[in-house]
């Protein structure tokens, strides 16, 4: 029920945003086929309608559930969510660090810190992190000749 409501509200909001934003590039005099805003706006209307259906469905379920007076729903905050939030944060910092420091140092740091944060011992994390970074470096930047990100501090 809560999921339907959240999804519906986000979908409706997204659709309104897309419809309004399409006004920036809409060509008023153009034929339907030549108007770049036509297709995104059709899609936005459909997404909005689906969002509204989800909201209505959530509300109908809410009213039904309240009528039947079931025991109150308790939401359990998963401890795993903290790991997810931490991992996304580490990943974001890692991506930013690659931009600054290049590939090697941030990758070793990320692999070690992430493993430790997920429960691996520091020694094992270092033992895995360095060979993993080396292997990826050899594979992508030596074997596949992808231009290595050197980091703006070292350019």
């Amino acid at each position: 029920m809560k999921r339907d409501l959240t999804s519906g509200l986000v979908a409706a909001g997204f659709a309104v945003f897309v419809y309004a934003e399409a006004g920036r590039f809409a060509e008023s005099g153009a034929s339907l086929a030549d108007n770049p805003a036509l297709y995104p706006r059709i899609l936005a209307v459909i997404v909005f309608a689906m969002g509204v259906v989800l909201i209505v469905r959530a509300m109908v379920t809410f009213l039904k559930v309240r009528k039947e007076r079931p025991p109150e729903e308790k939401t359990e905050k998963s401890a795993g969510m903290r790991y997810v939030a931490l991992t996304v944060a580490l990943l974001t910092v890692y991506v930013g660090m690659i931009h600054l420091l290049g590939f090697i140092v941030p990758t070793i740091a990320f692999t070690v810190v992430t493993q430790v944060s997920l429960g691996t011992k520091l020694k094992t994390a270092v033992f895995v992190g360095i060979p993993l970074t080396t292997a990826l470096y050899l594979l992508f930047f030596i074997f596949f000749k992808v231009p290595i990100p050197s980091g703006i501090l070292f350019e």
Binding site: Y39, L43, V47
Partner: protein
Amino acid sequence: MSWELYTAGFALFDAEAIAFMVLGVVLGLVVGALPGLTATMAVSILVPLTYGLSMTAAIMMLLGVYCSANYAGSISATLVNIPGTPSAVMTTIDAYPMALRGEAGRAIGIATLSSSLGGLFSVFTLALFSPLIAGIALKFNSFEMFLVAFWGLSMMAYVSPGSTLKGFLSGFAGLVIATIGYDPITASPRFIFDEPNLLGGINFIAAMIGLFGLAEILLNIEKPGQTARQEIFEIRGSLRSFLEVIKLWAVVLRSSVAGVIVGAIPGAGGTIAAIVAYAQQKRFSKRPELMGTGAPEGITAAEASNNACTGGAMTTLLSLGIPGDAVTAVLIGAFVLHGIQPGPFLFQNNFDLVSAIFMGMVLINILFLVFGMVGARYLARLLLIPRPILNTAILVLSVVGTYAVQASMFDVVVMVAFGSLGYVMAKQEIPRAPMVLALILGPLMEQNFRRWLSLAEGEYGLMILDTYTRNPVSIVLTILVVGTVVFPLIRGNGKSTFKG
């Protein structure tokens, strides 16, 4: 074309293609054997890796991962009662009880040969039917191509796990995202927010890696404790089960047919195929009461069907450009990365590649049969790898792999954004596969739709009338699309029949 379609591929099989095909099979076995890692995730992460390879080597490697991962899910299903890939879910029902009786080797042997036979059957149907379907599809006009793509998207939304409405929402949101960048007709920039990196649109490989790779790892991180058990069963006597499977030829055939048909339905995939085939076998079985207690026919039905799915899914991919499941949706990304658009024209412009795919899939099914028989006991050891190490390695591989496609850090940011979105979608029970398919099919749909509109020259009513009276294909396709959209509404609850 005729027989040439089945022989032209020989020329493309150089040492590189064969080496990467073998590598793909091995990687697929590893991924499939590890619970929590899916073929979709592996293929999406590996797509950038194929950038430096020849087209044939790239496709062979990814097909190797796809087919062998589908099979290898049965290894952990047998040994620890956890399907290595979702499509092995029905395998656990009989394989695990058999392993508990001390017959893990027998169960793995049955699963391996059944998988291989199911896969081989599906390749023959692929080779037989895909040229025929492509021949018909070549005559489609722009409106019909739009309808085909829309039907594919609708089917994927319909059969995706959970709410059908949310499946459609995911698909349509994906279509909106696919409009980012230059307009295909007038070249006006759309939704770029002054970011020049968005002019070319969202890099769908980055989006795919995010939605399937990163999101899956985040979901794994959230559920700790899926690591291996300490106990690994003795795996002996796999070869002896060969005769047993040969005696079950009717089960193999029946389940393979079910697998191919389900596989050809866009979005259905191996899990549904296994459920359908298992239920079908229970009806046909002389001793249905034994199914669920370690019956060989249960393992055979599940494994032959989920592997037969691969050929079915590839049939619609190659002939119509519509993927049959999430992995083949990702495979489209690999084709496009190498400058090839799957669909009916593939049979005209790249029939040697199509031919190589037929041959490659035969070899792959034989290769995983051999490797599976020989290596099952070693693959079982993979279950002991600590999950934090595995998750971290895949996270870094996702970042480096995404960067490698265009040497762009912006793509990495896109990947992280889509990974987070994918995680939230999973928590909201919104399927991710329709969004990926929409990102791929979106530009094709818009181009065909607007091309059709431009042909009308303002007379839209006449154009609609002309489209439907001139060609019955449009009517059939419209019925399919309307049926797919309206059927769940008539049923009233907005839920898919199959829940994952």
